[in-house]
C-alpha cells in the first residue's frame, strides 16, 4: 500500500513533468493573444523597427495587428525656402522637409526612440513637443538640439488617438508659425478599422510682411502674428497644396479617412467638405465618435479624424468654413471622386426656368416708380471703370481676387490673362452663361465651375471694361450693345 502510493505519486510527478512544456506553451499563447494589461504602460515590446515616415498628404502603412515594438523615429529638421503661392516665397522651418512635418504612425504600447537631427546648415536650435508623450514638455525638455547636433529621447505611447507635435523653442509662436508642426497617430491594439483611402491634412496660418499675394521672398511678420492677422490660411503649408494636380482622390463607393490637424499658431479651423457629410468624426482625435457631422472644429494644436463614404463622383472642396479663409487666404483643397453617377443621390441640374414671384412681374415698393431714382449710367470710360470695379468687388472678387490674380489651381487669373484678352465675346458669354470644364489660362489648366451671373447688360459691359483696363490687360472698351448682341445670339 505504502509502496503503491509512492509509485502512483511518482507516476503523477512524471506526468506533471511530461506535461509541463505543454502547459507552458498554452500559457504562452495565452499571454500573446488574450492578456489584458492593467495599464498600457505594461504592454511589452518585441523587436525593433524603423518607423516609416511620410510627407503629406500621405500616411504610413496602418499598424494592423502588429505587436508593440521599439520604434525608431529619425526626424531631420530643415530650414528651407519654399513657395507659399505663385510668386511668393517663404522660409519654412520643417520637420522632415515638409509642412506639416512627416506623419508618424504608432500603436499603443510602442516604445518610441526619437532621434531629432538638426541639419548643420540650420541657423537655430529646435526641439519637439509631441502631444502623444506623457512627460515634461512632451519631450521638449529632452530634445533641445543645436544646429549640427542630434538629440535622442524615448517615450512609450500610452493613449490611443491623433496628436499634434510641434517645436517649442523660444519664440515658440514663431517656430510654429514657420511650419514646425505635424501629426503623430497612436492606433489602438489591432489598429483602426480598415478604410479604402487615408490622407493627411493639416491647416496652418501664416503671417508675412507683405500682404496676401505680394511677390518675392516674404519674411515672417511677428506683429501680425501677435495680432492674429493672418495673410495666408492654408492646408499643407501652401496655397494649392491640395488642388488641381495635387488634389486627393477616391473612387465612388470608397470610404475615405482624413487625419486632420491644425498647427495654428492662432486660428481654430471649422473643417468642412463641401457636398459631403462626415459619417464619423473622432472628435478632437480621441475616442469619442460623433456621426453625421457637417463641420468639425479642429483646435489650434489639436486634431480630428473624419470618415465618409463617397457616393457620387465630382470634385469636393475641402475648406475652413470660416469662409473668407478659404476663398481669400488659401484654406481650400480638393477631393476628386471618380466613378458612376448615382442620379438618385444627386441629380445634377434638372431644369432651369424663370422664377416669377407673386405671379408675374417683380413688384416694386410704392414710391419708387417715377421718383427719378434710376441707376445712373456711366457717361464715360472712367465712370464705366469705376462702376465696373464696384460690380467686380461684389461679384467677382471672392474667386478672382483683388488684383485679378485668381487662386492657384482653383480659379484662373484675370490679370494679364491670355484667355481673357484673346476673345471678348467669349468673355461676355462666360458671364452670361457660366462656364464649366477645362480651360488653359497663361499655360495653366483650370477645371472648375463659374456660375452664370445675373447682371444687366450695362453691368457686364462695365465690369468687363474694368477688367480689360486693369492688371496689364488689353484695355478694351466693352459696350452694353456688345453684351446685348451676345445675349440675343442665344
Amino acid at each position: 500500500m505504502k509502496l503503491n502510493q509512492r509509485l502512483s505519486k511518482l507516476k503523477f510527478l512524471a506526468l506533471l513533468i511530461a506535461l509541463t512544456p505543454l502547459l507552458t506553451l498554452f500559457s504562452c499563447i495565452d499571454t500573446n493573444e488574450k492578456k489584458d494589461y492593467q495599464s498600457t504602460a505594461d504592454i511589452p515590446v518585441s523587436r525593433e523597427m524603423v518607423a516609416e515616415l511620410t510627407a503629406p498628404p500621405h500616411v504610413p502603412t496602418p499598424v494592423g495587428r502588429r505587436k508593440a515594438k521599439k520604434l525608431i523615429v529619425n526626424m531631420e529638421i530643415l530650414e528651407e525656402v519654399g513657395e507659399m503661392t505663385d510668386g511668393v516665397k517663404y522660409t519654412y522651418w520643417t520637420f522632415g522637409g515638409s509642412v506639416p512635418g512627416s506623419f508618424i504612425r504608432t500603436r499603443v504600447g510602442d516604445e518610441v526612440e526619437f532621434h531629432l537631427k538638426n541639419h548643420p546648415d540650420n541657423k537655430l536650435p529646435h526641439n519637439i513637443d509631441l502631444h502623444a508623450v506623457t512627460g515634461p514638455g512632451g519631450g521638449a525638455t529632452s530634445s533641445f538640439v543645436a544646429p549640427g547636433k542630434e538629440a535622442q529621447f524615448s517615450f512609450k505611447v500610452l493613449n490611443p488617438g491623433l496628436y499634434v507635435y510641434h517645436c517649442a523653442t523660444a519664440p515658440v509662436g514663431m517656430h510654429i508659425a514657420n511650419g514646425m508642426y505635424g501629426l503623430i497617430l497612436v492606433e489602438p491594439e489591432g489598429g483602426l478599422p480598415k478604410v479604402d483611402k487615408e490622407y493627411y491634412i493639416m491647416q496652418g496660418d501664416f503671417y508675412t510682411k507683405g500682404e496676401n499675394g505680394e511677390r518675392g521672398l516674404q519674411p515672417f511678420d511677428m506683429k501680425k502674428a501677435v495680432d492674429e492677422d493672418a495673410d495666408y490660411v492654408v492646408f499643407n503649408g501652401k496655397v494649392g497644396a491640395l488642388t488641381g494636380d495635387n488634389a486627393i482622390t477616391a473612387k465612388v463607393g470608397e470610404t475615405v479617412r482624413l487625419y486632420i490637424g491644425n498647427g495654428g499658431p492662432n486660428l481654430v479651423s471649422s473643417f468642412h467638405v463641401i457636398g459631403e457629410i462626415f459619417d464619423k468624426v473622432r472628435v478632437e482625435g480621441g475616442d469619442l465618435i460623433n456621426t453625421n457631422v457637417q463641420t468639425t472644429l479642429v483646435p489650434a494644436g489639436g486634431a480630428a479624424i473624419v470618415e465618409f463614404r463617397v457616393d457620387v463622383p465630382g470634385t469636393f472642396i475641402l475648406v475652413d468654413h470660416s469662409i473668407f479663409r478659404a476663398f481669400n487666404k488659401g484654406a481650400l483643397g480638393m477631393l476628386k471622386v471618380e466613378g458612376e453617377e448615382d442620379l438618385k443621390i444627386y441629380s445634377g441640374m434638372q431644369e432651369e426656368g424663370i422664377y416669377q414671384p407673386e405671379g408675374g412681374g417683380i413688384q416694386k415698393m410704392p414710391g419708387v416708380e417715377g421718383s427719378g431714382i434710376v441707376e445712373a449710367s456711366a457717361k464715360n470710360l472712367e465712370e464705366k471703370i469705376e462702376f465696373g470695379k464696384a460690380t467686380y468687388m461684389q461679384t467677382c472678387f471672392a474667386c478672382h481676387q483683388a488684383e485679378g490674380q485668381g487662386i492657384a489651381n482653383a480659379f484662373p487669373p484675370l490679370a494679364k490673362s491670355d484667355y481673357l484678352n484673346a476673345n471678348v465675346n467669349r468673355a461676355i458669354d462666360i458671364i452670361l452663361n457660366g462656364k464649366t470644364g477645362e480651360i488653359t489660362v497663361n499655360g495653366t489648366i483650370y477645371n472648375s465651375v463659374m456660375t452664370r451671373q445675373d447682371l444687366s447688360d450695362e453691368e457686364i459691359a462695365n465690369v468687363l471694361t474694368y477688367v480689360y483696363n486693369s492688371w496689364g490687360n488689353s484695355k478694351k472698351d466693352v459696350t452694353p450693345a456688345m453684351v446685348r448682341s451676345r445675349r440675343n445670339a442665344h
Partner: protein
C-alpha cells in the same frame, strides 16, 4: 530635467607668443560704454558696460588659416578632442586648406568656444561678454539703441530666417552706429560667457518666477516685440556647449580700452 550648462573654468596654457598677428588694432573701433537693460534679469537689473574696443568684422577664414599656421595645436587634425567636437573646421580640405566653396573673406565658422577664445588671446584680445556683445549689437546705422524700432527688429528676425548666410563675405551687412559690421546678418558669434544665462531647452518653462530669466515674457504685448530677436539669440546660446561647432557660428574679439593706453 533642467540641464545646466555650467561654465567650467579651464585654465588653458595657450602658449601664445607675444607677437600679435592677424587683424591689427586699427581694425577695431571704440564702443562707448553705458548701461542698458538686457533681455534677462529683473526689471531693475540695469547692466553697466565699460568702454571697450571691438573688431569691425568677424574673424575670417583667412585670418583663422593664419592662426592655425602659426599654432599647429589648433589645426583640424591636432586639436584635443576635449576642446572641440568632430565637426571642428569640418569642411576644410585639410589642416591648411579651406574647403572648395569657402571664400577667404567669409567668416570662419565650425570653431569651438575653446578655439575662438584661444584665437583672441593669441592676439592680446578676448571674446566679448554677452552683455558687451548685446550692447554693441543693439545699435542700428544711426542710433546706439535701436531695439525700440519695429523695423530694426523685423530686419534682424528676417536674417534669422534667411538660410546659409554664412557663405556671404564680411562687410556684406550694414555698418552700425559704432562702425561695426555684420553683428546681425552673417553668423552667430561666440561670447565669453555664452552659457551664463541658463536656458533649459524647454523655453515655456523658463518663464517661471523661480527661473527668473525672462521678465514678463509670458505677456507678449507690442512692447515685447523687440525681445523676440534677442530671445532667439539666447535660445541659440542655450543650445550650445563650449566644445560645439556650428556652420553658422563664428566669432570676433574685443579688447579692454585700458590696454590701448
Amino acid at each position: 530635467m533642467v540641464s545646466f550648462f555650467r561654465l567650467i573654468l579651464v585654465f588653458l596654457v595657450i602658449g601664445c607668443s607675444n607677437t600679435v598677428f592677424g587683424q591689427s588694432e586699427s581694425e577695431m573701433v571704440l564702443v562707448n560704454g553705458g548701461d542698458f537693460i538686457p533681455l534677462y534679469g529683473t526689471d531693475s537689473a540695469t547692466v553697466v558696460v565699460r568702454d571697450f574696443k571691438m573688431d569691425i568684422y568677424p574673424v575670417t577664414n583667412s585670418d583663422y588659416l593664419a592662426f592655425v599656421k602659426k599654432y599647429p595645436k589648433w589645426r583640424k587634425s591636432k586639436i584635443i578632442r576635449l576642446f572641440s567636437d568632430e565637426s571642428y573646421l569640418g569642411r576644410w580640405e585639410d589642416d591648411l586648406t579651406l574647403g572648395a566653396d569657402f571664400l577667404p573673406n567669409s567668416p570662419v565658422t565650425s570653431v569651438s568656444w575653446f578655439a575662438a577664445k584661444a584665437y583672441c588671446e593669441c592676439q592680446g584680445k578676448r571674446l566679448p561678454t554677452v552683455d558687451e556683445w548685446e550692447f554693441a549689437a543693439m545699435a542700428d546705422e544711426n542710433i546706439p539703441d535701436a531695439r525700440i524700432l519695429k523695423g530694426y527688429n523685423q530686419k534682424i528676425l528676417t536674417w534669422y530666417e534667411a538660410p546659409r548666410t554664412f557663405k556671404n563675405t564680411i562687410g556684406s551687412t550694414f555698418k552700425n552706429y559704432w562702425g561695426i559690421h555684420d553683428l546681425h546678418g552673417l553668423v552667430w558669434e561666440w561670447t565669453l560667457d555664452f552659457n551664463s544665462v541658463l536656458i533649459s531647452g524647454e523655453s515655456r518653462k523658463d518663464v517661471d518666477k523661480d527661473s527668473n530669466l525672462f521678465c514678463g515674457s509670458a505677456a507678449v504685448g507690442a512692447s515685447d516685440l523687440m525681445n523676440y530677436a534677442a530671445f532667439m539669440r539666447y535660445a541659440f546660446r542655450g543650445s550650445i556647449k563650449a566644445n560645439y561647432t556650428g556652420r553658422n557660428l563664428g566669432f570676433r574679439c574685443v579688447k579692454d580700452v585700458e590696454d590701448f593706453h
